[in-house]
Symmetry: D2
Subunit: 178 residues, 4 copies
């Protein structure tokens, strides 16, 4: 059976005043790492009725992360996905260090799905397949990667973006049928 | 077929002058995280002819880790195993944060086996199974855990030690036949 | 000569929509550490015409800190004060680690005054005098401390708040005449 | 009155077996950051009768630092100087982040002198004067800097070494008469 794709528009919201406009076309609203504790934004987005993707702040504790999610839930949000995207650490081989222990802990402490943003955390593409297998095996519900036709022409973050061939390898590594 | 166990004595060496005594009974010599850059110790142990387990320092970069391994190799060591045991980070839910990206990177950069010490890194037992699955799926060659009959009576580090039941669950989680 | 006090109301703003209300009574608008990269807020506050106190994010680099200040300046702000308030680190003796090197570096790289928030960084009162002297000697233009009549009755952060006696000692330590 | 200089030879010891040789010419024995928890070395050096300079490990807590000093004291050492040399952090503007709060805390918790190694911590020379003033004002008993005739020809760490002119400025900044 052929897998049917469903395209969904995920849009990062940074200003509570932009909500009405964004709701018109976005399927999912993303709260970025820099706004995880922007409580006026959380307040507004939590009541919007659309699925929310909440990224962990880059030095936030799990407790702070879960409190931010609770902030959304209290406002009425019924579909929150947590996104681990790495902790800023003194390790030059990655941009941010993925907190693999956070995956099972968040599964125990909340009933929310958790995905891992491999592009912003690793900041490189050569180990995406191995780390993707690792976080999925540790219980993640999904991963997030940036894919672009020609990474070298990307407007930003070129080093972390997969081209179509690398994306295909990743699907293979995860045994996802194309 | 029943799996046969082979007991091996791994002994941490901290003083180069203790080498002769330790060689008599140890099968594997461990260099602990606090001694990863104790070059006089590396110098001595590197030439001893026995397998060596080299633990990563708790704030060391991968480059420093690989240089320490090279130090051993230059002295003649033919069997070096690298052990990732977590980076000290500002995250209270674990004792040290496992660097999952280090696993595939060390596999590419060296031809040495790499294992992950789940007990000293996590400092807790409730998520050992999930993280063990994760690091194995990311390419680790093995894991290291502390198991004891009655963790509550352990002389130290009681919170991180598995009892026999938890150990059995871990073997199941990794689908290792007992 | 008796020093005359001037009371000024510093108010933290977290929601761009609250600006009009806050402008009525606040002398200085504070952007908190959690909002240092809340660009829609910076955008709004930068054009308000009042002095701004910009706190450094708790894992932000100096470059990110200066870019946030530039964001305010581009919007027209003519009075921006930078506030170092410590970096989240794996050191249990303080809540956040003050980055003393940031003081002279920010003085060279910008022409903005820089103050240090000793209460939120240290999270304790017993070493406030010594650290206050240190950051002033390193070139800080001022310090910020929390003072309250009865710290034990504080609604939050009781451990970091000075009582009047400790505040008096601090003024002495800095040789500020009361 | 002219200040008389006293040259003292500080030698880093890394191998307990080198002690006898080093004792012949060294006035002070230094335990480096990488060896702060090398207990067989501490054990040997603690009983040697010469002054010891103990550097803090680059991710060590104050408690670990003080325990290492106690290790030396228990072995009989009567002259131990503590040296803060910065914590490895995710901040690219310095090599290591000086922990200014450690200075008054160590003064309270121990009766040992504490100095700050400005060269290895900052990894740059342009802010040495300001930070030196800061750490002295916070209660440090001294500082340590690397000075060399021609830093550009240094065998290592050229970026952190002062030339004679910069050293002279530093003495001025600290109001030390030459």
């Amino acid at each position: 059976m052929k897998k049917k794709y469903e395209m969904r528009c995920v849009t990062e919201i940074m200003d509570p005043r932009a909500l009405a406009d964004i709701l018109e076309y976005a399927d999912v609203l993303q709260i970025g790492a820099r706004n995880m504790q922007n409580f006026s934004l959380l307040n507004e987005v939590g009541g919007c009725g659309k699925p929310i993707l909440l990224k962990r702040g880059f030095a936030s504790t799990l407790e702070e992360f879960m409190l931010a999610a609770e902030y959304l839930a209290v406002r009425g949000s019924r579909s929150i996905t947590l996104c681990e995207r790495g902790i800023r650490a003194s390790q030059p081989h990655v941009r941010n260090m993925i907190d693999i222990a956070a995956i099972p802990l968040l599964k125990v402490e909340t009933d929310l799905p958790i995905i891992v943003d491999l592009s912003h955390s690793l900041g490189r593409t050569d180990i995406v397949c191995e780390v993707a297998r690792g976080v999925m095996a540790a219980g993640a519900d999904g991963i997030m990667v940036e894919v672009i036709k020609e990474p070298s022409k990307a407007a930003s973050d070129a080093k972390q973006q997969l081209d179509f061939g690398e994306y295909s390898q990743l699907l293979n590594a995860l045994k996802i049928r194309d």
